[in-house]
Structure formats: C-alpha cells, structure tokens
Symmetry: none
Subunit: 200 residues, 4 copies
Amino acid sequence: MPKSKEQFEQIRNERKDTILRSALNLFVLKGYDAVNLDEVTKDAHCSHGLLYHYYKSKEELYQGVIEQIVYPSCKTMVECINFDQKAKFVIHDLLDTVLKVLKSPNDEKVKELYLLLNIHLQKSLKVVKKNEQGHTFIYSTIEDLINRGKLEGDFNDYSSAELSISILSLIKGIAFNRIHIGYKKFVCPHSEVIMEMLLR
Amino acid sequence: MPKSKEQFEQIRNERKDTILRSALNLFVLKGYDAVNLDEVTKDAHCSHGLLYHYYKSKEELYQGVIEQIVYPSCKTMVECINFDQKAKFVIHDLLDTVLKVLKSPNDEKVKELYLLLNIHLQKSLKVVKKNEQGHTFIYSTIEDLINRGKLEGDFNDYSSAELSISILSLIKGIAFNRIHIGYKKFVCPHSEVIMEMLLR
Amino acid sequence: MPKSKEQFEQIRNERKDTILRSALNLFVLKGYDAVNLDEVTKDAHCSHGLLYHYYKSKEELYQGVIEQIVYPSCKTMVECINFDQKAKFVIHDLLDTVLKVLKSPNDEKVKELYLLLNIHLQKSLKVVKKNEQGHTFIYSTIEDLINRGKLEGDFNDYSSAELSISILSLIKGIAFNRIHIGYKKFVCPHSEVIMEMLLR
Amino acid sequence: MPKSKEQFEQIRNERKDTILRSALNLFVLKGYDAVNLDEVTKDAHCSHGLLYHYYKSKEELYQGVIEQIVYPSCKTMVECINFDQKAKFVIHDLLDTVLKVLKSPNDEKVKELYLLLNIHLQKSLKVVKKNEQGHTFIYSTIEDLINRGKLEGDFNDYSSAELSISILSLIKGIAFNRIHIGYKKFVCPHSEVIMEMLLR
DNA sequence: GATGAATGAGAATTCATTCAT
DNA sequence: TATGAATGAATTCTCATTCAT
C-alpha cells in the first residue's frame, strides 16, 4: 500500500529543508563558487541524486535557499514592526530587530539575514538578477522612511540617498563581521550609535 | 641589438603588472573562486605559460595582487595623513581620503581599496591568514584613535570597539556599493555623516 | 467487494499496455538511448516502481515493445495477404499494405511498422541480436518472392539480392520520412513506382 | 623560443582532425546518444581536457563533425558532376557517384555520406535544426532535376515529390545497409535499377 | 499492485596546472 | 622570456535502478 500524498509531501519537505539548510550554511560561509555539492550532500546526509531530484542545478539550489528560506524568514522578522509610528521609531525598531538577530547566538537567523543583504554578491546568477528589484526595494523603503523622518522634523539635512546607503552599508558590514568573526568575538553597536547619523 | 639587463627587467615588470592588474580587476568583480585563469590571461593578453612563469599558482597570483598592488597603493593613500593632530581630525582625514577615492572615477584605486577591506573574504588562502594581523591592525588603529578622541573629549561614550567596528563596516559597505553599482550611480555619504556616530 | 482474478488480470494488462504504448512512441521518436524512463513513466502516468514491476530493465521494456506490440501487429498486417498468387501480385499487395499504413493518419500503426523495420538500429540490445534472424527472414522472404517472379517471367534480370535490398531500403526510408515529417506533409509514392524497379 | 603561429595552427588542425575522425566514426556506428566521450578520447588518444579545449560540448563536437568533415567532403563528391547535361544523365551521375562510394571499401567516405543523409536523426541538436534547410535543399534539388527530366520527355508522370522522396529514401536505406552490414556482405543495386523508377 | 523517494555509478564539463618547444 | 597545446583530477549533472511502505 503506497504512502498517502500527505506523507510523501511531508517526507519531501523535510528532506528539502535539510538540504536547503546545509546549502544555506555553506553558501554563507564559503560563498557560492567555493561550495561544492559534495559537501552539501554530505552535510545533508543525502545522495547527489536526491539533491538533483529536488533542485535541477547548483544555481536552483541557491535560488531555493533564497526563496524558500531567506525571504520568508526575513519577512517574518520585519512583520512585527509597526510602520505607522513616526519614521524615526520605525527605523529604530528595524535596527533593533536586525541587531537583536545579530547579537543572538542563533546562527541560522544570522545567516538568513546575511544572505538577504548579500545576495547580489553573485551577480551572474539568475535569482540575483531576478531579485535586483527586491534589493532596490529595501533601499527605497529606507529612503522613504528617511524622507518621512525629515518631514517630521527628526532627521538632519543630508541627502536621503546618502543616509540610506550609509545605514544599509553599515548593517551589511556588521552582519559580515558577525558571520566571519563568530558569535563570541562579535561586538555589536547599539542602534543609538547608528541613529546618530540620522538625527539632527 | 640585444636588450640590456635593465630593458629585460622593465619588460618583466610591465608584463607582471599587466597580469596583476587584470587579476585584481577580476578578483574584485567576481570573487576569488569565480575567477578562472583563462580570463586573466585573455585580459592580460598573455599565455598560461607566462602567468605561471611569474606566479606559481592562482593563490600566489592573488598574493601578488595584494602585496604588489593593494598594500603599496593603500600605504600611499594613508601616508599623507598627519597623525599628530587631534584624533577627530585624523579620523576625519582618513574618512575624507577614503571617500575621495570612492567618489573618483578612477576604478583602479577603488578596487585596490575594496580589496584591502575585503581580503579576509577568502579565509582559506594563505595570504589572508598571513595578513589577518594586517586586518586586525586596521581595527586596532581605529580603536586607538577613538580612545584618544575620547580622552580629548571629542567622542561619545559608546565602547570604542563598537564604534570602530561601525566605522569600518560602514566604509566596507560603501566601497562594496561603489564597486557593484559603478561610478555613475554611486551616492557617497559625507564624512560628517559618519562622524556623527562618534562625536558627542 | 474484492476484485476477481480476471479483473486484476485486466487491470494488469491495461497498465502494461499503456506503458508499452508510451515507450513505443518515445523509442520511435527519439531512439532508444535518448529516451529516459522518467519520460516514459510520465507519459504513461505511472510510477517508476510500477514500470520496474512489469519490466526488469529498460532493455526488457524495449523487448516488450517489440514482442508484445510490434511483432503481433505486423503479423496481422501481413496475414491477410494471399501468398498463393503470382509473386508480382504478392509483392504488390505487400507494398500496398505497407503504403496504406504509412498513408493513414493512424500514427500508432505507423510507429509499429517503423520499429519493425528499424529494430536493428540498436545493435547492442539483446532483443535485437535475438531477432536478427527475424530481420534476415524478411529479406529472404522478399528475395524468394523475387526469384519466383523471375521464374514466372515478370521481373527483370538484376540480381534478386540487389532488388530485395532496394525494395526494403526504399520502404524503410519512406517510413522514416512518414515518422519524422508527419502525416500532413508526408508524400507517399505509389506502389507502381516501386514495382518499376522489379518489372521487366 | 615559442612555436610559430603556423606550427601551432598545424598541430591544432591535426589534433582536431583526429578527434573529429574518431567522433565521426563512433557517431555513425552507435548514434549520438550512445556515444560517450570517453570512447572518443580513447580512440583519438587525447585527454578529456583537450577535447573540451577544442569543442565546448558534445553537441559542438557533433557540429564539428558535420561542418568540418561531412559537408566539405560531400561537396567535393558532387562537384565533379556536370549539371548541364540532360536531367536523366545528371541523376544517373549522382546515383553512380553515391553508389561508387558505397561500394568502395573506404569506410571513411561511406560514413561521411551516411551522416549527411542522416543528420536529422538527432532532431534535438542545434546543428540539425540549423541545417534543416540543407536537407530540404537536397530534396528540392532532386525534385527540380526530376521536373526538368519530365520536360525533357525522359521521366514518367508520377508526381516529382513522390519520385524524389523515393529516390532519396532508397539511397538512405542503402547507405544504412552498407554501414551496418559492412563492406563484405554489402550488395549494392545498380543505378539502372533505381532509374527504372523514373524513366517512362 | 502501486507509489515516488532515494541511490550511486557513470557521463559531461571545468579548470588549475604542466610541458615541450 | 614566451607560447598555447595538453593533462587529469575534481565538479556538476543524469539516469537506470532499488527500496521502504
């Protein structure tokens, strides 16, 4: 008697998730090109065949990581933020959310965030091209918030583009440190330090 | 008419330099692993044989890039800074120097700076291990300056480690943008914006 | 209400037939090596497990196609021909039978015929080796008929081997066209044209 | 002192030719899909790397075989035919040329001819798509000749399409036999037998 | 009888590196 | 010094086949 559709579905999802987790981990630590699929299959305790059963190529595996893990997870992170407050509080909350993740010992979350901020490192990959808008979306969201904050009289007069780039560059750099230095040695700036760049 | 020793020496150096330049360019744009030496030789208009005549391996080529181009060039950038002023002026000058490079259309200099800030991306390479101190040296230099600035009463009370990491992360992130967005679209923050994080 | 043995038997046979049909179709269109069993299972709406339940290997599947479908079907085609007439009428009838199949829009029959004529394309397969006699049987049947036709004074004096090879090569080639050009564009020669090669 | 351009060119061409010859041979005998590149490299006494140095993929190798060997060779075969005679003589000459090749013990030429007539077996390959016109060109050339022959009063009244397809199918089938049966057992029809189909 | 996840050997492809000249 | 052909190990990817249920 064959398994029910639901049973198969579950097996599939669990296996795919294991594979994606291993892949995420390695992609973050070594970079797309330096990862070889042997490592991934070993880490995920599966055969090459199975990996290719689920993902047609290395590139699709990367895409799976981004779309199945990174995006949903990062969406959840942001969802609890109230965008109806004054802009300075929104940005402060965003920074706090991000820094909280980075300060936590939960490497999984950190890696997801890192990858979100650094997908475009692999410029030649389709997923990346496909989501370039996604990336500019983040930028313009921040920029809009900064503009709002200026109208609300809280932020200084430097150009919003300049300020948003500074904020995001900073976060990206910090995430990078967190990954490559590790939880223990990592020193995390307070959100207030960063807010200094914006506040008048 | 046989060439003199000096002439040979010069040809040698010019060829090596061409190769290093091509390599630098590609390493920055694609990352160490994604670069294949065929591209390098094509870009440098030389044969595989010649490349291997000068550099024993891909890794040594990378090392050559770092030690023959990146370090000397970055040293020069910093040399004109007067470290005897008050710390806040030193840091301001440093930021100005860096931002000036990033704002200029001179991609060569930008790439050198970018690589300086991101060598440690290739953790497995010998050069990188060898120069980890180099990297920590940059951090501690900044941290020392910040400590001095605090004593001089100019900087706020956030931990110096935190502040130096913020500053460097920020610069790294900005350099990244400059590289991947290109000269034309690049928006560069003023050093004053960055100084806001430090000043009380 | 449990199914009776006959019902099971029927389900079995229907399933096997669906699989063989899909396989036949793909083998004809793409050739043995280019077919992968995934396509077959998808086309036949069955699982890998089931396919392997019925046929122990790709090769046995091919064999099944030949022995369960191609041979019986082609036997039937020929059965209605009266071999007691004069040879020239037998050959004419054979040609007409074959050309009628090729001219009809019934792709199934066309494919069966095509495979009959081209089994030996897959020289390494067991079925093919096993049935090489089958193939030479066709040749010698034609050759015998031609010999008879000569004695009956109807055919010209070219060697029978030569003539039988010509006839069969021609049919094979036409069948090939029918398959790869499709029903609509296919132009079919009249049996009389072909008979011209034989008649004195 | 490096080799001169001409020397390199010659080495290249010799090696490429060896590889193409091995490939041609195997493609003809086993079919595109059944050939594995290991056999090719072994047969050509070269490494995988070298094969890929010259041909970017299995498909390009096939293309090389067609364009570098098959086409030029077949062009040469046809070139010595005088197209200014009466159509029936042109066709007769064409048939003679082809049959002469097939009857000769020179397998190389036979294989080239075989591949010319059967490229379209690999429908999915680019070369084949690209040269579909090439194939229809052959058909229409023959058809035109037959039309001319009709006007000249030499050929019968069956449709030219039908006649040209018959002629070509026949040749294709005979070539097939020659390849798979081998020089020794091969029985070749006289061009006169074939002409019977056309002549009134 | 039936399912589709899982395997692994083997095929295609890439690329750092060597070598003869 | 300089060339580019040549290598082969490593990597990506495919697919016939097995297996637990």
